[in-house]
Amino acid sequence: MNSMKNSDEAIEKVLAGLRNVEAPVGMERRVLDGLEKRAARRSEMSSGWFGPVWRGVPGAYAACAVGVAGVAVVMLMVPVVRRFGHAPVQAHIGVGSVNSVRHISPTEPAKDGENSLQSSRVRLKAGDARVAGPVGAINSVTDSDAIALSETRAASFPAPPMPLTDQERLLLRLSQKNDSVELAMLDPRLRELEEAQEKTEFQRFFARPVLKEALGQSADAATAVPTDETDRLKTDSGIDQGAPQVSESEKVTPAQTVTPPTMETPK
């Protein structure tokens, strides 16, 4: 019971504290200052440049004045727009003539001539228009229509190809030459194979004469010193009977035994 009383007391004390809190001193003034600033900002934003002029004028009169001013502006703008409405077309004349010159087809000489003539004519007329004033301007407008029509009818061509780079030119040369060796040299693996093959051929080339020389020396020894013993042996073995007679000039020398290197592997 005592604790309940204590709780009620605490609750009442807190609620009384919330109830009796005092507003800070000068709050009203600060609130009013803030409101004044805000109202001034709003009036500046809403009034803008014409604010002081329109202040105090009734809304209906202001609306009428704005409407009349709008109609007057439209009426003044109509002749101006009519007079200068085609000015951009005149400005396009120079560009059109330049384009017509650029798009001359090299494959159509007749049209080329026509185009160049036409463009030069147009350029001349455009120049006249600039000099002659309003009449020239009207002519230039019709001419510009003709230019536009002729340009729409003219054949279009793709842009010329870009020049090749050095690398592209080298690749093109290799591919057009179609030399398999050169192409293969681009591949390091094939190049190594090629080198290995050449080495093998080289070794084979220099290995054969040594053998032949050895064989040739033994043959010379046999033929250069004919003795009875050897003759006897020859007759006994029948070497000379079926074998062809080899003359001195037909003797094999290392230089003569060289055969052109072939790609075949030795047996």
Partner: protein, 184 residues
């Protein structure tokens, strides 16, 4: 006071519809009440003053509707109440409870008793925060003791009987929780 008078004139010229609403008089009459209402929600003076300022800015923005307002007092309290609830989502009133609870304690008490009292106050505020929102709102608004039951019902958008029931439940629940806390 010249500034305040100037303000009064400016506002009456802005209205121009017959009902010359004096915003200055409105600020002078209701700013303290609005401050207490908002402070009961936020429990911080600077935040409460800021919200009161916002409330009068809303009045300025909707000044054309002022002639339609039947009860200016309730209308103003409702604006300030809603703005305070909006502000409460951004700030946490619990962070200001310690200072507020210490302010509730009498300065004549000895230091140890003042500390215990401040703890009790803080516990009450904490338990108030833990109440269901409807009960907490009714209890907070009833603490002002300047609003009749019908006015409170209009501000909260509930019936009078609902407000009575919520107020009773809020006090009962708060007391029970405080006793449980004391026993624990």
């Amino acid at each position: 006071m010249a500034l305040v008078e100037g303000w009064s004139l400016a506002l009456s010229s802005m209205e121009g519809v017959g009902s010359e609403t004096d915003l200055t008089a409105m600020v002078e009459s209701y700013s303290s009440l609005l401050f207490r209402v908002v402070h009961s929600v936020l429990r911080n003076q600077a935040e409460a003053e800021d919200v009161v300022q916002d409330a009068f800015v809303r009045v300025l923005e909707h000044r054309r509707r002022l002639p339609e307002v039947r009860e200016t007092r309730v209308w103003l309290i409702r604006i300030a109440w809603n703005l305070a609830l909006d502000r409460r989502r951004r700030i946490k009133p619990e962070q200001f409870d310690e200072g507020f609870a210490e302010g509730l304690v009498s300065r004549e008490l000895p230091a140890d008793q003042a500390l215990n009292e401040a703890r009790r106050m803080k516990a009450v505020l904490r338990e108030m925060e833990r109440l269901p929102r409807a009960e907490r709102d009714v209890l907070t608004l009833a603490a002002i003791e300047e609003l009749r039951m019908a006015e409170m019902a209009e501000v909260l958008g509930r019936s009078e009987s609902a407000v009575r029931a919520l107020l009773f439940r809020a006090r009962t629940r708060l007391r029970e929780r405080l006793e449980e806390g004391r026993r624990g």
